[in-house]
Each structure stands twice: as C-alpha cells, then as structure tokens.
Symmetry: C2
Subunit: 227 residues, 2 copies
C-alpha cells in the first residue's frame, strides 16, 4: 500500500543500491580462477558473516569480512588465497561506478526537497572513498556507516539509531535499497521502504511487502516526487 504522504527522511543503501557491483565480478572471478559465477555465493557469504559478527557481539570492518568470505569460498574450490591477496581484491569496492540512472534520480529527489542520508554496511572510510570516486558526496546530507554504531544491518537497532540521528520517528523514515533483507529489516523496524528490483535481487518472501518496488531508482524517485 502506497502512503499518500512524503517520508521526512530518505535513507539509501549504497552497495548494489546506488553503486554497481558488477565490476567486482571481474576482480572476484580473477581471484577464483575465472569463476565469475561465484560472485553471488561470495556476496551471500559476506552478508551471512556480517550478521554472524553482529550476532556474536563482535565488530570487524565490512571489507575484512568480505576478504575472509572470499578466502572461504576460494578454499572450498581448492584455491589458496592469502589474506593479503583477498584484501587486494576487496580494495576494488572503493571504485564502484554508480548505476546509470542513480545520479539523475538522486539529483531530482534532492531538488524536490528530500533530506537524503546514506546508510551503509561499508566502513566510514570505505564509504567516504566510494562516494568520492562515484561523485555522490554532494548529493547527501550525511553518510552513516554502521561502523559508528557497531552492528550490521538489518539489526533492528541500526535503523532506530539512524532515525534517532536525524531526530525522526521510524514511521517517518524510508529506506531505499536493492536488497530484500535490508527492506525487510527496515520495515520490521517500523520504516517505510522502497525496493530497487535490480537483476539478481529479490524481495524476501516472508517479510511485509514495501510500498514501492521498481526496476530502477529513477522510477522510484518519480513516485516519491509525485507525493
């Protein structure tokens, strides 16, 4: 059900939502003896272990978790990668391009008066590089990294923390993301949500459905501007 009122704050997920992960396929594939098809397994393993970290009351940098996940996937395919080699691969996370429509969509939303905040599992330093290299910095009022809070999305408290940072109630916040788990977690925390239905991404069938689901961010922006 689409609300008729504008959300007060828009929170944007970053990796795959704004930035295109497809270039990682080449880098991860190269490290895995050409097995580019293993990108989804690597990414899923990284996400799983980010939550293993939070569930265990620990915290480590997202890119180190990604490097560790890559090492595990490699070993399971009889490839030995050193920690150093996997961290080299993960450095490419800083150089992702924005999805083709993302910058125009963000500009339109900003022009329409929306308060726009990035909320990412990337580290503070990692996100800063990503935004600089992708030309996104000027479009956001704040870049919030879960590193500051010490727990990974979709832990409910992360969304509460982000809303509180903006002095907003969860019900007045909207998360915009290309990940079913992020949309689900945000809605379970009381946020509104929009899903960017990018290739290879699915809503979680056991969660509430978001009020907006479109194949790219421009279509979502147009719906939000019409409110």
């Amino acid at each position: 059900m689409q609300h008729s009122q504008r959300p007060k704050v828009l929170f944007f997920d970053v990796n795959e939502s704004l930035l295109d992960l497809s270039s990682m396929k080449k880098h991860v594939g190269k490290a895995l003896n050409g097995r580019e098809d293993l990108l989804p397994l690597w990414f899923s393993t990284m996400l799983h272990y980010s939550l293993v970290t939070t569930a265990s009351k620990q915290f480590t940098d997202f890119s180190n978790i990604g490097a560790a996940a890559l090492q595990m996937v490699a070993k399971n395919h009889n490839i030995n990668l050193s920690t150093e080699e996997t961290r080299e691969v993960l450095k490419n996370f800083s150089n992702l391009l924005p999805h083709p429509e993302a910058i125009e969509a963000l500009r339109l939303l900003k022009k329409a008066g929306y308060i726009m905040i990035a909320l990412s599992n990337s580290s503070i330093k990692g996100m800063r590089s990503q935004f600089k290299n992708a030309g996104l910095t000027h479009l956001f009022e704040q870049q919030l990294s879960v590193e500051e809070f010490g727990k990974y999305k979709p832990e409910t408290e992360v969304y509460y923390w982000a809303a509180k940072k903006l002095k907003a109630e969860p019900k007045d916040c909207m998360l915009i993301a290309a990940h079913g788990w992020d949309v689900a977690g945000a809605m379970w925390a009381g946020f509104r949500a929009a899903f960017i239905n990018r290739p290879g991404q699915q809503l979680y069938p056991l969660a509430p459905m978001p009020e907006i689901s479109e194949t790219d961010l421009l279509k979502i922006a147009k719906k939000l501007i019409a409110l």
Copy 2:
C-alpha cells in the same frame, strides 16, 4: 590449544555436522532445472536469512526460511517456484542420512561417559523427524531446537541458553560442528569447540581457532575420549 580436561557437556550441531546434506543437492538441483551447483548458494542464503530473522527480532521455522531462500535463488535464475513447491523440496530435510562415521563416533563418546546434547537450527518437530529417520534418537540426552528459544545460532544468547539448560558454565561446554560460523559463535560465547572439517566447509578466518579440527567425527571422538 587443546585443553587437557574433558568438557562436561558436548553440544552437537545437526545439519551437515551429523547428517549428510548431499542428498539435498539432488532435490534442490531438480527444482532449479538441474543446477545442482547452486546448493551452496541456496544454503548460504538460508543461513543469511535465518540471521536476518533474528536480527529483526522475528522468528519463523527454519524450513520455511529454507523454502523462501530457494524461491529467491530460483527467481534469480528465472525459475518460478511456488511456495508449495519449495516446501515440498524442504521436506527432504527430514530424511537425511547420517555421515558414514557419525553413529560409531557418537556411540563411542556415549560409552566413554559424555553427556551429549543436540543443538540445532532445525525446528523441534523437524529435528525429531530427522533423528528418528537417521537412527540418532537414542544417542542423545536432549534435542535442543533454537525454536524453543526463538533466535538462530550463532546468536550468543542461544549458546548461553543451551548451557543454562544443562546447568553448565559456557567454559565447561563444547560445541562440535561442521560450520565455521557455529564454531566461531560458540567460542565467542565462551564455549570450547571442535570443527568437523567436511568437504565444502571452512573455519571463519577472523574467529579464534577451535582446539580440535579434524576431517571427521570419529577422529574428534578419539581425541575427546583420550582426555
């Protein structure tokens, strides 16, 4: 570092640790148009979403999460599966065979006087069927399902809850599992741990190393009996 004292209670993970998941490959592959190679991606997605559920303060049956994960992986490969079809696939989780050496290893441990408890992400009912069908029931004093507690492993509190159920301190408990995340979570909760290094399974490089790591359960049992 191997301790010289016996742990007071042995907790065993079930899926892949005691029971062989390889038959699921056939069932999952059949549902995914022959793509048996997608089993690890499906399993990783299921594990990720089990923790998404816990991080979001929700609870749903593990096999329903597995069915939803299968639906998502299928959609990402342009295969439409109904909820009913995926749940049919997941029913095969109840009919897994024990790994070849598991029963002998468990018998020896029991004979040596160990208190043995199953601690699984499977539902209460699901685990009961699994144990009955695999002939494991008589080897364990208790079958603990996370369903009773409402959070998935490796949430720290699950291990605390399990230890408390047995009136034991975490330091006197040992988890035995074939999953890096389970071993890591247990150790972060103060348990001792043994890793069953089965094919396709890896320790988590960013966690403490368990005191025992062997390629099968019989080798682990012999080390424990020697204490």
